[in-house]
């Protein structure tokens, strides 16, 4: 079965880049424009993995991750967040919030796909 992935980012171009890369690798992609939309979509349907930015309007990524992990439905769903090389404090916070792993921006499509394969195990 095709794995379906939710991507949460306020930048349409970044969402598109992620979608192209993941579609190319055979994954299904659903997009959300901010944390709140992401939270709603994640609770409405089941996703195999969630990729999220941290800085977003309405609800930031950290809050979204915390909210998701509160729900037993989302126990064990891999969540990857996008971060920058320098922001180590943010990385720790996101991990503490319950994220599975991270991807450093800027990234090339290959890295994204590799991380996805790694985390999904397929």
């Amino acid at each position: 079965m095709t794995a379906s992935i939710l991507t949460v980012d306020d930048s349409p171009s970044l969402r598109m880049a992620i979608r192209i890369a993941l579609n190319g690798a055979g994954y299904e992609v659903v997009e959300a424009g901010d944390g709140l939309e992401g939270l709603n979509k994640a609770n409405a349907a089941r996703f195999d993995m969630i990729i999220t930015d941290l800085n977003m309007p309405n609800m930031d990524g950290l809050t979204m991750i915390r909210e998701l992990r509160k729900s037993p439905e989302q126990c064990g769903t891999p969540i990857i967040f996008l971060t920058t090389e320098s922001d180590d404090a943010m990385k720790q916070q996101a991990k503490a919030a319950g994220a599975t792993g991270w991807l450093v921006k800027p990234f090339v499509p290959d890295q994204l796909v590799r991380i996805t394969r790694k985390v999904l195990g397929r």
């Binding site: 126990c75 969540i79 792993g101 195990g121």
Partner: protein
């Protein structure tokens, strides 16, 4: 061109693999065919080079080992055995998988182990014992709830090498205390193979900080050794004596010809299509005028005049259509230059140098086919510039230059050709080293006087390399001969300029288009031939008197310079009597000139180039054929080959006299 470069690479790599595979299969029957050995080696070399450029690092690394093994065969350091051919053939399948995507590393490692065995079959030095790692790990309690899948981690470890996994169940609490979302099992994994510690750390990257992980190297194993891939090249290279004692490579095989790619496409601006449409519209109008004339009742002079006017119109339209059509095939060289940013970036990192790449003239347009065929030679040249040209920061500072190396790519249209220059600001070509190397290889006589131009041309000789060290990048003496042949097959030329301490510039001069050229139609015996007009310098008559005087020497004095000439009638063995007034067409490439003696000069001719059939492709003197107005066929003379023939003749005569 504007499509996905990685997809383009896949297509290209597929063709390359097919070619190498074919050559390998042929080699299986003829183990000592040097041309085939060279061809296989070059194929592997190109695959490695372009693989690295497009980020196929696993492919590049894997291919490197096969290439190294074949390099030894090529240099005569190891015999080519059926076993080796067999191993490389199985390696091809693995490369194909790597080109398509991921392939399990253990398959690759197994092949490399067999490769090592095949290479050392006779010399049989004791292979180093296999090693590996023993790791024990326990995930942090919340890891599973947070999305980490322990099975995926174990699978990833399996991907690195042969694994023996044991579960550590000692920490599992009684059922009453067991929290189902936590991970209570630990693992002990025995991982065999040449695996970098970093690769193991990569597996655990996301959980590293909070988990328990111990990694210790395994003691050398005795059973079923899997040879460490990382030590392969070192072992092979160390066993090789210095390269210059190796025999000079056999004459190169023909450049691997690429079959036409299916589904090729080119982007064309709508404006240009409109222009083409206009011309076609005009053509239709003229055509209707012509048929009117054919059916009409214009008799005598009036009809003749009308016909002539239509003929003139068609001539104008044909040339306009030709120009419009050629423009359609043009793409800016930016598409080519952009590919090299990544290459230079990677090369800089690999060599530990800081290199800046600048470009200009990216909007210069070149025929699409030309751009595609230029990519490989340019990769070689840029690699050379990075590796040999630009020095390390320390070297550069010691001669008072800025520590940042600089490579400049430029493109410029000049008349009917495009000049693409690759300039570096390094040491420049080392004339002394080139000379010494050429003398050692027996290419030139010791102390032979040579111009810079002649000296630099030596670096295009197959197997010629002055690099003291074989690196992953260059120094195997492959490449430059391929560069030269590719450029020549495009009817282009290479100029090399170098100033000691200031850098070198390599200029590729490529004709604008490949499809149609202006030619000079000549007759030799009963056959007609086309000489590309761009190469023609002048035409003169070979007077009987001069002919007699030069008999046996085949030289004429042209403005105080001796110019060798070739009697095409004799070369082509026409068996006819020479015309009383023979003509000499003087052709030139770069600074070298040669005269061609023909029976008659017919005139200039718009030449639509048709390529030769596969049967005739190896005939060196001709680059193609064309169809004349009367339906006859004329062969197109290959100027570069003829000039070379002329130079040989000159050298022979110089040696004799």
């Amino acid at each position: 061109m504007n499509g996905d470069p990685v997809a383009a690479f896949r297509v290209e790599a597929g063709e390359l693999l097919d070619q190498v595979e074919q050559n390998l299969l042929d080699l299986g029957d003829r183990l000592d065919d040097r041309d085939l050995i060279d061809a296989v080696f070059r194929g592997l070399h190109t695959l490695k080079g372009s693989g690295a450029m497009f980020g196929f690092d696993a492919l590049a690394g894997f291919t490197h080992h096969c290439e190294t093994a074949f390099d030894r065969v090529r240099k005569g350091l190891a015999p080519l055995t059926a076993g080796l051919v067999e191993v490389i053939l199985s390696a091809m399948d693995h490369m194909r998988a790597l080109v398509e995507g991921a392939a399990p590393a253990e398959i690759g490692n197994a092949i490399l182990a067999r490769l090592q065995q095949a290479v050392t079959e006779r010399a049989a030095p004791v292979a180093p014992a296999a090693s590996g790692w023993r790791l024990r790990f326990r995930l942090p309690p919340e890891a599973m709830a947070n999305g980490t899948n322990p099975l995926a981690l174990l699978d990833e470890l399996r991907g690195l090498g042969t694994c023996r996994v044991t579960a550590l169940t000692d920490a599992i609490p009684p059922l009453a205390d067991l929290v189902p979302t936590e991970c209570h099992v630990g693992w002990e994994v025995e991982l065999r193979g040449a695996i970098a510690r970093d690769d193991i750390d990569d597996v655990f990257i996301f959980v590293m900080d909070d988990m328990e992980l111990t990694v210790e190297p395994l003691a050398p194993a005795t059973e079923a050794p899997v040879l460490p891939a990382a030590t392969l090249p070192a072992a092979v290279v160390a066993a090789a004596p210095p390269a210059d004692s190796a025999p000079v490579a056999a004459p190169p095989a023909e450049t691997p010809t690429r079959t036409a790619k299916s589904g090729e496409s080119v982007r064309v601006s709508a404006e240009r299509l409109d222009e083409l449409m206009d011309r076609v519209g005009e053509l239709v109008i003229v055509q209707s005028r012509l048929s009117q004339l054919a059916h009409g009742h214009h008799a005598g002079a009036a009809g003749e005049l009308a016909l002539r006017s239509i003929a003139e119109e068609i001539e104008r339209l044909a040339s306009e259509l030709r120009d419009t059509m050629m423009v359609l095939r043009m793409v800016p060289v930016a598409s080519l230059f952009n590919r090299f940013r990544r290459l230079v970036h990677d090369l800089a990192r690999e060599t530990g140098k800081t290199i800046e790449l600048t470009t200009d003239g990216e909007t210069t347009e070149v025929d699409k086919t030309v751009i595609e065929r230029l990519a490989d030679p340019m990769i070689h040249l840029i690699r050379n510039a990075c590796d040999h040209g630009v020095g390390t920061a320390e070297q550069r500072i010691s001669v008072g230059k800025s520590p940042v190396g600089h490579i400049h790519l430029s493109a410029q249209q000049a008349g009917g050709e495009v000049r693409i220059a690759i300039r570096d600001d390094g040491r420049g070509l080392d004339r002394v080293r080139i000379r010494a190397k050429a003398e050692a290889q027996g290419l030139i006589q010791p102390g032979q006087a040579m111009s810079d131009h002649e000296l630099f041309q030596l670096i295009f000789h197959p197997g010629f390399s002055t690099a003291a060290q074989i690196t992953n990048l260059s120094g195997r003496g492959v490449g430059m001969d391929v560069v030269k042949r590719t450029i020549e097959s495009l009817r282009g030329a290479i100029d090399i300029g170098s100033i000691d301490g200031q850098g070198s510039t390599i200029t590729l001069r490529i004709p604008l288009t490949l499809a149609i050229i202006d030619g000079l139609l000549v007759r030799v015996g009963e056959g007609r031939y086309v000489i590309p007009l761009a190469a023609v310098e002048e035409c003169l008559e070979l007077s009987l008197e001069e002919d007699l005087r030069s008999r046996g020497r085949s030289f004429i004095t042209l403005r105080d310079r001796l110019v060798p000439f070739l009697r095409l009638r004799e070369m082509f063995e026409t068996g006819t009597r020479p015309d009383p007034h023979q003509k000499i067409v003087v052709i030139a490439t770069g600074a070298e000139r040669v005269g061609l003696v023909v029976d008659q000069i017919i005139g200039s001719h718009q030449t639509v180039i048709k390529s030769m059939s596969p049967l005739h492709r190896r005939v060196a003197t001709f680059s193609g054929a064309t169809i004349l107005g009367d339906g006859g066929v004329a062969l197109i003379l290959d100027v570069v080959q003829l000039v070379m023939a002329g130079q040989h003749q000159e050298a022979r005569l110089r040696a004799a006299g």
